[in-house]
Amino acid sequence: MANEFNKKGDYIGYRAEKGLNRKIVTDISERKNEPGWMTDFRLKALDIFEAKPMPSWGADLSDLDHHDIHYYVQSVKGKHSSWEDVPDDIKATFDKLGIPQAEREMLAGVGAQFDSEVIYKRLKDKWAKKGVVFLDTDSGLKEYPELFKKYFSTVIPSHDNKFAALNSAVWSGGSFVYVPSGVQVDLPLQAYFRIESSQMGQFERTLIIAEPKSSIHYVEGCSAPVSRNNSLHSAVVELVALPDSHIRYTTIQNWSSNVYNLVTKRAIAHERASVDWVDGNFGSKVTMKYPCIILKGEQSRGQIISIAVAGKDQQQDAGGKIIHCASNTTSNIVSKSISKNGGRTTYRGLLKVIKNLKNIVSRVQCDALLMDGASRTDTYPTVDIKSDQVDIGHEASVSKINDEQLVYLMSRGLSSQEAQAMIVNGFIDCFVKELPMEYAVEINRLIKMEMEDSIG
């Protein structure tokens, strides 16, 4: 173990050595005082990670060196539930993101994760009194061991894919959310994830359980400062929507251009439950992310609405997966991508209907916008239908930015950047409409910044 304290006794942080082995995994588990079953779970996942080959499809991961990453970094000690207690430099970073203000005004609760550990978590009393749980996932394991064990890794098993296995071995932080039966949380819960150290991996693990007739909207924002070296963000997010519940999960990520973002997100929707993934992907070097909904119960509904923006040297390989496993289920996928300055976007989707189902309705729409001739977009929609009574619609379009529209707008006094931003904002409007107001404003601002960057 490295020095965690300076001579004066101040905490200066802990960082696991680079690379991954059984010792490092065991150390993480020990630091967290985990029960034996979790240590075993981690070690088993490590074996799976090492046994599985790198994916041979999708984005280019050849530059990602597994040995050149710190798999656990704790830069701040302790979890806080009062904003005043958070150390000043970290507070300044989050202040810029507007967290405390936002919490006061329009959220049911807020969490913040810095590198590997959650440093701040607070749920408003109103919801705590109703039995809602909003904790970092490590505390969830300690405080609700039975509930945790009942659902943890039931939606995404370690062997699902190489990066789910990696997360299972070294996971740290993330959110544990439990909404009791019949409780409708009408304000969003919000979590922020920040990678501050370079050459590190952030492996948060989020588990949301919505009991029957409950509802919850969870919003996560992700960011990282620009640094010279690659970092890895490899989260696992599991949603369990029990009968008649509703879960909406909104992500706005704006990673810096050296982050590999390889995330596994999946939901199970039981009878009459509905799940929405709203997924906004800006930044990162490579993103591979395909939020999935398994429609397990009859009359369940699933919706995946996403946008991806890829600029210079960026690859956004994203999409969505819906698996209909019960009759009378409906699904909807809307995917919008924008490629500029030689950036590359890929829509990769799966729509699957298993055997002997009735009354399946599904709509898939993916639209790509190319801002210049150097950029690229590809679409790989996989459709696998094994039942007859299905109503499936699939639409895909690729368009180049329309010069006549630009001319029209510029004749009204808009600059070329302003005109492009307006066209792009219109293109992603169906996504922006799904966001809480202040996020919608933020997205419009991000698009303007992206368009300014694309000049010259």
Partner: protein
């Protein structure tokens, strides 16, 4: 206000306007009539600075400024406004958002509530229902609705020189009257503003008071006169004004 001298305009290696001269005084309304392909829309586009139009000789001065070197976006800020023959749709952007943006970049400011009130007034003036504010900009609009929305933009930007490029094409009588009246009222209220009306037909002139009427053929002005000329063209056709 606007001096066009011996201007030749080229599009895709072809001279579409040849050695044309025209002078527009402050407060005047000039009508340019002519057949398809006579170069009148090219002249309109070129005045606004659309990129496909290259002025290969001659000069264009607007308010003592060499217009040829000014970008399209700055021409708008100088007070030029072109109502397009076929206005474009901007899917996903509401009419309100669009109008708010062009109003802001023109350097004008109003509180959201006052701006809303202004738009209500302008939409009513051109005969568009207020619900149009929340529809996608020109998305699934009829020809007449698009043209009325061009006039809303004109009223919002308060231009010094209005160029109406076949604003009357595809309009029914009601829309024609409404648009004609709006333009005439604007010119009466803004005495220093001028207008160039480009058209095939005389009928919009029922609602406007032209200072001069010009006939354009094969890229240049072949005949000029007063309002009476438009009636003669209607009776005799353009052929009698050939060279």
């Amino acid at each position: 206000m606007l001096f066009i001298e011996n201007v030749t305009i080229r599009v895709e290696q072809k001279d579409v306007v040849k050695n044309l001269s025209l002078q527009i005084e402050s407060g005047s309304l000039h009508v340019i009539m002519g057949q398809n392909g006579s170069g009148k829309s090219s002249l309109a586009h070129s005045l606004m600075g659309l990129p496909a139009y290259e002025v290969t000789s001659g000069s264009i001065n607007f308010k003592d400024q060499d217009l040829i070197t000014v970008s399209m976006q700055d021409r708008s800020k100088l007070g030029l406004f072109l109502a397009f023959q076929q206005p474009l749709a901007i899917p996903g952007v509401t009419v309100f958002q669009f109008l708010r943006e062009i109003y802001t970049v023109s350097g004008q400011q109003l509180s959201p509530a006052d701006f809303q009130e202004l738009l209500q007034k302008l939409l009513q003036q051109v005969g568009l229902d207020i619900s149009f504010l929340y529809r996608g900009f020109n998305e699934n609009f009829s020809g007449g609705e698009k043209k009325r929305l061009e006039i809303v933009q004109m009223l919002l930007l308060k231009p010094k020189l209005i160029i109406l490029d076949e604003i009357d094409s595809g309009l029914d009588v009601d829309a024609l009257r409404s648009i004609g009246n709006c333009v005439q009222e604007y010119l009466q209220a803004n005495k220093d503003a001028s207008c160039i009306v480009i058209t095939h037909y005389r009928r919009i002139l029922d609602y406007l008071k032209p200072t001069a009427v010009h006939v354009m053929q094969d890229g240049t002005i072949v005949h000029s006169g007063d309002a009476q000329l438009s009636y003669e063209i209607e009776e005799e056709g353009y052929d009698s004004y050939g060279k």
